[in-house]
């Protein structure tokens, strides 16, 4: 009898709480790393805070950090949806299938998956054209390397990362025909000790420029300790390592997109979409190029950035060949988004195989 009473009141209380919150739009975020990683997740959380600032009392945001990619993320998303989230942003590639699975169970909840390609009536995808930033980095890297060895720390061999490697390589080769890339796969987005090890290994093997596609600032610290190694901020400005070793950066700016999408949920205009914005739309920013970069190189990099922004130049413009020597893009031809979204090959000149 007593138990029934408690249960009833619990149900009532939950009902009341939900009712009280009903006029607020509840926004959930699932993060792959800690909000203090100084990189990828840090920028997503800045986007979350921007949503709170933009809508004030009308929204409530929740987030769960360091959620492993894979089945456990389904539990986190389900929990958020059950607790009344109206829209959930899942901010890593590995949440793709879990997002689709959970979205099927909650048709009234909107889902937004970052960097993936699977959509559904209540699942949109969004990503940034990081490869445009990589083109700028590659240009600077090609000029800055003295050993002609550029180290690249990859996370997972997924299209997003491979695009970045190709774009950086193409533009480094363009300004320095002798440049070589050494690529190390860390198989993690965030593990400072491992990222530091990878950076040290690359430096020991002669790299004097390190590009990273992992989320922590550990490679920056390793480069700083080595003394004469150039790095670039990844996902966030990482300006605490400027002006050297960090000479520039790619900054992800998710805030405008998050504000727009939450706004769309509020006024009921949300619809399935596939957003892929670059430098021109402001989703990809290029951090200040420091004085460690010679003025003419800086000018060249900024000119490239401007050309990418106004659309007069595409990062993947032919003539380009694939690694095996087969033709990919003819003279003046540019890559279409479909090929880029599923890119699983290196361009000509890169050594080693893409892990399959």
């Amino acid at each position: 009898m007593k138990l029934t009473k408690i249960l009833t009141s619990a149900v009532l209380a939950t009902g009341l709480a939900t009712a009280a919150l009903a006029d607020k739009t509840k926004v959930g975020f699932v993060y792959v790393g800690p909000v203090g990683d100084g990189g990828w997740t840090y920028e997503h959380d800045k986007g979350r805070l921007a949503v709170e600032e933009a809508y004030g009392d009308k929204v409530e945001t929740v987030y769960v950090e360091s959620v492993p990619e894979g089945p456990d993320s389904e539990r986190v998303m389900t929990d958020m949806a059950l607790k009344g989230a109206d829209i959930i942003f899942t901010t890593s590639f590995g949440y793709m299938d879990p997002t689709i699975n959970v979205a099927k169970k909650f048709p009234n909840v909107k889902f937004e998956h970052a960097t993936g390609y699977k959509t559904a009536p209540n699942v949109s995808v969004y990503s940034a054209r990081f490869y445009e930033g990589r083109a700028v980095q590659g240009t600077i890297a090609g000029h800055m390397t003295k050993s002609n060895v550029v180290g690249y720390i990859g996370s997972y061999p997924i299209p997003e990362v491979i695009r970045g490697i190709n774009s950086a390589f193409i533009h480094a080769r363009k300004v320095n025909p002798d440049v070589q890339f050494k690529i190390v796969w860390a198989y993690t987005w965030f593990d400072p000790a491992k990222e530091a090890d990878a950076a040290k290994v690359l430096i020991e093997q002669g790299a004097d420029v390190i590009l990273q596609h992992t989320d922590s600032t550990a490679p920056q610290a390793a480069a700083q300790a080595a003394g004469n190694v150039v790095t670039f901020g990844q996902a966030s400005d990482m300006s605490e390592y400027a002006p050297f070793p960090r000479v520039s950066s790619i900054i992800d700016d998710w805030a405008p997109y998050y504000i727009a999408r939450v706004g769309a949920v509020m006024d009921g205009s949300w619809a399935e979409s596939n957003t892929w914005h670059g430098i021109g739309d402001g989703m990809v920013g290029i951090g200040e190029i420091s004085d460690a970069v010679p003025a003419d190189v800086k000018a060249e990099a900024l000119a490239l950035k401007a050309a990418l922004a106004d659309g007069s130049y595409h990062s993947f413009t032919g003539p380009l060949k694939k690694q095996d020597g087969s033709d990919w893009l003819a003279e003046g031809e540019t890559a279409d988004d479909g090929t880029l979204a599923g890119m699983n090959f290196y361009v000509e000149g890169i050594e080693g195989d893409v892990p399959q």
Binding site: G36, W185, A193
Partner: protein
């Protein structure tokens, strides 16, 4: 493929650095488990040691003070576990897991103001003639002091467990706490001290990551090394030298596989990436084919009335 790009001297020198945090944490946990206590909170104590040591060394400007602070931080946190399991008689597995979760949260809170700060550098051992020797110099005499502490600690733990009276008492408590109690030993006190020792070692291991190996503070930066340390203790059959071997194997293959990748060797990267785990487990499992087994009272709650 260009294997000549790999410098074996630098490889061995860096594998020793990569193995040290794991070694420190695992040796500490070994002592705890030999006393019959299973503390799953290694990861939590490591990360609290990492931020505790980092904060103190930044504030004081002395990396050595930071290392001491890390040991104290780890030991203090482990006291919480000691209180729960030894006095409140709580379940050790649940308390250990709680300690890890608590440690991760606490460290994130403590570390708010320390993101992006560079800690004071720790000098490397630089013995005039020895450190300049070719090959041997960089491998044996060119490291930070903590690395040597790790090796010395392993030797010390081995000698104490094997040859000293304290070691005998500790093992007695771990094998059969009722008998040890009947003989007049204070089981609770021995275990609390062992837990604190384990906490201090884990804290030092964490600080090694944040002060020397990386060096910077980032949330969650131990990234699972505490769990690997726990597994290592089991696979090493609770024997100190095997823990050392396991840690060096794991750290070594980790660094080696990155080197092979960078040199462009034609082994699929997936196999390279999983190799540290597989080879370490394989070697240690084969070695444990002798009749080694877990301490008999491991994980059991002791109460004098019991």
């Amino acid at each position: 493929m260009d294997l000549s790009a790999i410098n074996p001297v630098l490889l061995i020198a860096s594998l020793m650095v990569a193995a040290t945090p794991l070694l420190l944490a695992a040796v500490g946990e070994l002592v705890v488990e030999r006393a019959g206590v299973l503390n799953l909170g290694v990861e939590g104590m490591m990360i609290v040691g990492a931020i505790g040591g980092f904060a103190i060394s930044v504030e004081s400007g002395s990396p050595y003070l930071g290392l001491v602070a890390a040991m104290i931080a780890g030991a203090v946190l482990s006291l919480l576990f000691a209180f729960l399991t030894q006095f409140a008689l709580a379940n050790q597995v649940a308390s250990g897991l709680a300690l890890t979760l608590f440690g991760l949260g606490l460290s994130a809170l403590m570390g708010q103001g320390y993101v992006g700060i560079k800690p004071p550098a720790m000098g490397k051992l630089d013995i005039p003639i020895l450190s300049d020797l070719p090959v041997v110099g960089p491998i044996l005499f060119g490291h930070d002091p903590v690395l040597y502490i790790g090796i010395a600690l392993t030797a010390g733990v081995w000698a104490v467990l094997k040859y000293s009276r304290i070691g005998l008492i500790l093992r007695a408590v771990g094998e059969n706490h009722d008998a040890a109690h009947a003989l007049g030993y204070n089981v609770i006190r021995v275990r609390v001290l062992a837990i604190m020792f384990g906490g201090a070692c884990a804290g030092l291991g964490g600080a090694y990551i944040s002060l020397i190996r990386v060096p910077q503070w980032t949330e969650g930066m131990t990234a699972g090394i505490g769990w690997i340390a726990l597994a290592l203790v089991v696979f090493a059959s609770w024997k100190p030298w095997r823990v050392l071997l396991g840690a060096y194997l794991f750290g070594g293959i980790n660094v080696l596989q990155l080197n092979l990748q960078a040199a462009g060797i034609a082994i699929p990267v997936e196999y390279l990436a999983m190799s540290p785990y597989i080879i370490t487990i394989l070697v240690l499992v084969i070695m444990s084919a002798d009749k080694s087994r877990a301490p008999a009272s491991l994980g059991r709650i002791f109460h004098a009335s019991g």
